[in-house]
Symmetry: C2
Amino acid sequence: MTMNGPKTEKAQSDGPAAALGTPSKERLRMWLRMLKSTRRVEAQLRENLRTEFNSTLPRFDVMAALSRYSDGLKMSALSGVLKVSNGNVTGIVDRLVDEGLVVRVQVPGDRRASLVRLTRKGEEVFAAQALAHEAWIDELLGSFTPEEARMVSDHFDMMRDDDEEEGQ
Amino acid sequence: MTMNGPKTEKAQSDGPAAALGTPSKERLRMWLRMLKSTRRVEAQLRENLRTEFNSTLPRFDVMAALSRYSDGLKMSALSGVLKVSNGNVTGIVDRLVDEGLVVRVQVPGDRRASLVRLTRKGEEVFAAQALAHEAWIDELLGSFTPEEARMVSDHFDMMRDDDEEEGQ
DNA sequence: CAAATATATTTCAAGCTCAAACCTTTTTTG
DNA sequence: CAAAAAAGGTTTGAGCTTGAAATATATTTG
């Protein structure tokens, strides 16, 4: 396969010990690397969820959020926690409801709102997925020692100016 | 807003100095942090591309890839470089063609294949976007010093076992 | 050279994603 | 209290994404 290389001289892909470029270039470099790594892990997670659980990452994210709030979440709170658009969650929850993994419970005093909650089945399914998920991550990020992982975690922690929780 | 907290006791979100959990937990923690950070930056990039260039991240990615291969790329090579599915690229390129930013050039000896290339206009548009893109990244990741950025880059570099290039 | 196989690309169905428009149902306020 | 504003959700339209199936063209092989 005659694949001709990039036209730009690759002036900065010269290994860990190379001289630093401008701050802006170094940050760009970092961004491209972290984007690539994240996408790779995400792609593998999607693949695993699909083949082993016939599910998707968005579904997993929704269930993970619900599993942390056993009292249920309103749709708006759910989209707030996940930081995705309001209308987005509607469709995902619809499908989870179809599969009996979550329910919408009417809120007593408010005829607009409903609380979304995991069903018993939903809890069981998610528990299995969460277990597998942690193992997948452990494998995919196995090249990081716990200490390195902590270091990187802390670096990223620095850049959250406003936000709050999120996690499994 | 009566937002009740997570039900699980947050046993490990106790700041940078906290004791390390199991390796698997540390890696999971790192994954969740890097996923959140990546999504935040991505969301802002999407927003900026939309409002300032009436474009999208996938379009930008395609144009960035093409800008590095001035001789053009075959569709399959393009999806290979971007690591997205084959059929995916078709639609994105279609729209870029509609807007006159790229062209499909027939490959002489092969009536199946075509080379995709940036047009003159495409090159100009991309140049402006790339400039803005680097500035956005510089701002979004401004909390990292160049040295830290390099350190994180190198950490992620470690975990690419097989792959090759990618970048702006 | 014809059948089989491989390559290049598009089409398709299902699902995710967003912003904007649109209902309803509260809540606020004049 | 009635009009206006706010809050909770869904719908809609456009685009992105994937894996699988479908097309068409090239190459290999018996």
